[in-house]
C-alpha cells in the first residue's frame, strides 16, 4: 500500500512540475510524500482579492484510498481565510475531505475545489461554532466528524 501512495504522489508531483498548477495555485514545498504546502489565491473579483493563503496536505500510507488531511496553515504570519466553512485554526469543513472523498480526486483537484469555495463566498465570517470547535479541535482535521448540511456555499 505504501508503494501505491508513493507512486501516486510521485506521479502527481511530476505532473504538477511538468504542467504547472492552475492559476492562483502554487506549490511551496513537497520535499517528501508526507506533507505538501501550496499557496492559494482567488483570482478575479471576490472577497479575498489580493489575499494569499497557505494550504497544507498531509498524506498517510493509505492515500489515495483514504483522504489527505487538508488545512490552512496558521501561525508564523499566516492566517486562515475568514469563511463560513473555515475555522480560525485552519481546519476546513468540506464534504470532499471527509465522507465524499474519492480516490479519483487528486491534490490539485482539492486545491481547485477549495479555491472555488473561497471564490463563491458571499460574506466573510467564521463558522458559528468557531470558538467552541477550536477549543477542543484535534490536531488532525480528519479526526473531526464534520456534519455537512449546507449545499449552497
Amino acid at each position: 500500500m505504501t508503494s501505491i501512495s508513493a507512486r501516486r504522489l510521485g506521479k502527481e508531483l511530476t505532473e504538477i512540475k511538468a504542467e504547472g498548477c492552475p492559476v492562483g495555485i502554487n506549490l511551496v514545498k513537497a520535499d517528501d510524500f508526507a506533507t505538501w504546502w501550496f499557496t492559494i489565491e482567488v483570482m478575479g473579483e471576490s472577497l479575498y482579492q489580493g489575499e494569499k493563503y497557505t494550504l497544507q496536505f498531509r498524506f498517510d500510507s493509505n492515500y489515495p484510498i483514504s483522504s489527505p488531511a487538508v488545512q490552512f496553515v496558521v501561525g508564523d504570519g499566516k492566517v486562515s481565510p475568514v469563511h463560513p466553512h473555515v475555522y480560525s485554526n485552519g481546519h476546513i469543513c468540506a464534504s470532499i475531505l471527509g465522507n465524499e472523498w474519492s480516490p479519483v480526486l487528486s491534490v490539485i483537484a482539492v486545491c481547485v475545489t477549495i479555491q472555488s469555495m473561497l471564490a463563491s463566498c458571499k460574506k466573510k465570517e467564521r463558522p458559528t461554532d468557531n470558538d467552541r470547535y477550536i477549543r477542543f479541535a484535534p490536531d488532525n482535521p480528519k479526526k473531526t466528524r464534520f456534519h455537512y448540511d449546507d449545499d449552497t456555499v
Binding site: I4, R8, K11, E12, S95, E100, D150, V153
Partner: protein
C-alpha cells in the same frame, strides 16, 4: 386485548419470522453445540434436563452457518417474489435492513427508486452536479442524501483532465452503462489503460469496474475494498469514482479477494478479509433482526434466537438469560485449561438477551438491573466517602466536610452556627467555647436524630451494596476455588478408595456455589428496589434461606480432608448441594412467577413498570 393482536398484520410478519427460524432448526436438527451441552449436563445435573423451568426462557443457539441459512432463505424469497438475481436481492435486503415486507412494498411502489437507493443501478438521467456540501446553515438533509448519490463525476474528471490527459481520455471514452449486471468485468477500453488512482499504466494491469463503468486496476480495488472492510467495518462498499453510489456486489468482492494473481502472503490476507466481510454481513443481519442477538463474548461467532424476548414489553415479565452454547474464550482457553484433568471447560457464554449485561442477572429484570448497576457506578465509592467524612448541617442539610479548624461550624449556605461534636446549635454552648460537654442536651439530640434520618437512606444503600459487592467478589475468587477444589479432589483419590468419578461431587458443589452466588448477588439489587410489604418479606426470606445454605456449603468445601471423614463429607456435600440447588430454584422460580403475576412492587420508577404510586389497581 392480546388476542386481537394475533390477527393483525404486523403480528403475522412476526410469526413468519418465528416459523422461519424454527423451520431451519428442524432441518438441521440439534446443533453440535447443543449436543455437547447435553453430554456435559447429564453428568452433573441432579434434575434431568429437558423440562424448561419457569425462570428459563426458550431460545435457540445458532452457529454462523445457521444464520447464513436464514439469510439465504430471505434472499431466496426476494429472488422469487421480485424476480431479481441473487446479488441484487442481497443488496436490496441489506439496504432495507432485512425488512422483507417493507422492501417488497417499496419495490412494488417504485422499483427504480429502490434499486438506485440500494446502489444496484445508477440513476438513469444523472442529476446535475451538486456543489460540495459544507455545513453551518441547517439545510434540509434530504438534499444532501438524495444528491450525494450522483455527485459530479464530470467535474472530477475535468479537474483531473486538466492535469492528466490520459485519465480524461480513458474516463470519457468509457462505453455507456449497460443495464445488465456483469460483475466483475473487464471494461473494454482503448489501450493503454491508466488506472486513475495509482496512475499505473503497465500492460498487465487488470481494469475492473462495476456496471457504472468506472474502471480502476484490480490492485487499487483490492486495497480500497480491504480498507473498507477491515478499517471501517463497512459492508456496503461503493464504487471508488467520486460521487458514484453503486455498491459492489458480493461476487465482485469475492472474485477480487480470491484472485490468484497475487503472492501467497497477500492471498492469505485477502482470504481473511473475505471472512471478515462475511462476518460483517452476518452481524448486520443479526443486528437488523430483533429476534436475534450476537454472542457478546470475544471471538465468539454464535447467535442466539429468542423471539420470546424480542419486544421491549416482554422484558418486564421475563429475564431472558441465554447461552450461545460455547464455552471459554479462544486463546484464553489455554490458561484455564491448566486446570489439568479437572478439565475446566471455561465459562459458559451466558448473557442477557434483553440488555447489555454480559452475565446472568436473574432473578432481577433488565431495567432494575441496569438501574442498580448505574447507581453502583455512580454512587458506591462516593457514598462510602460521604458516610465516613461528612456530616449534614442540622438546619439546611447541606453536606459538610470538616477539614480543619475548631468545632464551631458556620454553615456556608444557611449561616447556621453549630457544634461539630454534638451537632447542637452553637448558641447553647454559651461561654464554654471550643469544648463541647453538652452531649445530652435536647437540641443536640434532635439535631443528631435529623442527621441519622438523612443518613438512613445512605446506610440502606450501603447495606445492599456491600452484600452485592461481597458476592461479586466471591464470584471473582471462584477460579481460585476451582483450583483449590481440584487439588482436594486429587488428595481424596489418594487418601481414599474413591474413583475419579466419585469425587466429582466436589466440583459439582463448587459450580453450584458459584451459580448461587450469582443469584444472591442480584437478589440484593432486587431487594433494594422492592417496595416494603409482605411480598418483599417473603422474597427476603427466600434470599436468606439460600444465603444460609450457600454459606454452609462453602464452609464444608473449605473444611480439611481427613481420610476417615471422606465418606461422611461426601454425603454431607452431596446433600447440601442438592439442597442449595433447590433453594436457588425456589428463589428464581418464585421471582419469575412474581414477574408474570405482576406481584413485585418497586419503590422507584422502573422502565416499563407502573410508577410506584400507581401500582394498586
Amino acid at each position: 386485548m392480546a388476542s386481537d393482536y394475533e390477527f393483525s398484520d404486523s403480528d403475522g410478519d412476526y410469526d413468519d419470522d418465528e416459523d422461519m427460524i424454527d423451520g431451519t432448526q428442524d432441518e438441521t436438527g440439534e446443533s453440535e453445540d447443543d449436543m455437547d451441552m447435553d453430554a456435559f449436563g447429564d453428568d452433573f445435573k441432579v434434575v434431568p434436563k429437558g423440562k424448561r423451568k419457569s425462570f428459563e426462557i426458550e431460545y435457540e443457539s445458532l452457529s454462523q452457518s445457521d444464520v447464513e441459512k436464514l439469510m439465504k432463505k430471505d434472499v431466496e424469497d426476494i429472488v422469487g417474489i421480485l424476480g431479481v438475481d441473487e446479488s441484487t436481492a442481497n443488496l436490496l435486503l441489506r439496504h432495507m435492513s432485512w425488512n422483507t415486507e417493507r422492501l417488497i412494498e417499496k419495490y412494488m411502489d417504485n422499483p427504480t427508486k429502490v434499486l438506485v437507493a440500494a446502489g444496484v443501478t445508477v440513476e438513469e438521467p444523472p442529476s446535475s452536479p451538486a456543489p460540495i456540501r459544507s455545513h453551518s446553515i441547517p439545510n434540509s438533509a434530504t438534499i444532501g442524501t438524495s444528491q450525494s448519490g450522483r455527485r459530479p463525476t464530470r467535474s472530477s474528471s475535468k479537474l483531473l483532465g486538466s492535469k492528466s490527459p490520459s485519465a480524461l481520455k480513458s474516463s470519457s471514452t468509457v462505453s455507456p452503462t449497460s443495464t445488465t449486471r456483469l460483475s466483475p468485468r473487464a471494461t473494454d477500453l482503448p489501450t493503454p489503460f491508466v488506472c486513475p488512482i495509482c496512475f499505473d499504466d503497465a500492460p498487465t494491469l487488470r481494469p475492473l469496474s462495476l456496471t457504472c463503468s468506472h474502471p480502476f486496476c484490480s490492485g487499487c480495488w483490492t486495497a480500497y475494498i480491504s480498507s473498507k472492510i477491515t478499517d471501517e467495518a463497512e459492508h456496503a462498499i461503493r464504487c471508488m469514482a467520486e460521487g458514484c453510489a453503486l455498491v459492489a456486489t458480493d461476487t465482485f468482492i469475492h472474485d477480487l479477494l480470491t484472485a490468484s494473481d497475487v503472492d501467497p502472503e497477500e492471498a492469505k490476507v485477502n482470504e481473511e478479509t473475505w471472512a471478515r466481510f462475511q462476518e460483517l454481513l452476518i452481524r448486520h443481519f443479526v443486528a437488523s433482526n430483533p429476534n436475534l442477538k450476537y454472542c457478546p463474548y470475544p471471538a465468539c461467532t454464535n447467535t442466539v434466537s429468542c423471539p420470546a424476548a424480542a419486544s421491549k414489553a416482554s422484558l418486564t415479565s421475563v429475564v431472558p438469560i441465554v447461552s450461545c452454547g460455547a464455552r471459554g474464550i479462544p486463546g484464553a482457553a489455554q490458561a484455564s485449561g491448566s486446570g489439568g484433568n479437572l478439565g475446566l471447560p471455561g465459562k459458559e457464554h451466558k448473557f442477557c438477551f434483553g440488555c447489555p449485561i454480559e452475565s446472568d442477572h436473574r432473578p432481577v429484570v433488565c431495567a432494575a438491573a441496569r438501574l442498580w448497576l448505574k447507581k453502583c457506578r455512580d454512587d458506591s465509592e462516593t457514598a462510602n466517602w460521604i458516610k465516613s467524612n461528612t456530616k449534614e448541617c442540622s438546619m439546611c442539610m447541606s453536606t459538610i466536610e470538616k477539614n480543619g479548624g475548631c468545632n464551631h461550624m458556620t454553615c456556608k449556605k444557611c449561616k447556621h452556627e453549630f457544634c461539630w461534636v454534638c451537632m447542637g446549635p452553637w448558641s447553647e454552648h454559651g461561654t464554654a467555647w471550643y469544648s463541647c460537654n453538652r452531649y445530652d442536651e435536647k437540641a443536640g439530640v434532635e439535631a443528631r436524630d435529623a442527621q441519622s434520618r438523612s443518613r438512613a437512606s445512605l446506610e440502606r444503600y450501603l447495606h445492599y451494596y456491600n452484600r452485592w459487592a461481597n458476592h461479586e467478589q466471591s464470584a471473582k475468587l471462584s477460579l481460585d476455588l476451582y483450583a483449590k477444589t481440584e487439588k482436594k479432589m486429587e488428595d481424596m483419590q489418594i487418601t481414599s478408595e474413591l474413583t475419579w468419578i466419585e469425587v466429582q461431587f466436589m466440583k459439582k458443589a463448587v459450580e453450584e456455589v458459584d451459580k448461587c452466588r450469582m443469584t444472591l448477588k442480584w437478589t440484593y439489587a432486587m431487594a433494594y428496589y422492592l417496595a416494603k410489604g409482605n411480598e418483599k418479606d417473603l422474597f427476603e426470606d427466600n434470599q436468606r434461606d439460600l444465603e444460609k445454605a450457600v454459606e454452609d456449603l462453602s464452609e464444608l468445601l473449605e473444611s480439611p480432608i481427613e481420610a476417615e471423614n471422606i465418606p461422611m463429607l461426601r454425603q454431607k456435600v452431596t446433600d447440601k448441594t442438592v439442597y442449595v440447588q433447590k433453594r436457588n430454584e425456589i428463589v428464581l422460580e418464585d421471582t419469575a412467577a412474581g414477574f408474570l403475576e405482576g406481584r413485585w412492587k418497586w419503590n422507584v420508577a422502573i422502565d416499563g413498570f407502573d410508577d410506584p404510586e400507581k401500582t394498586e389497581f
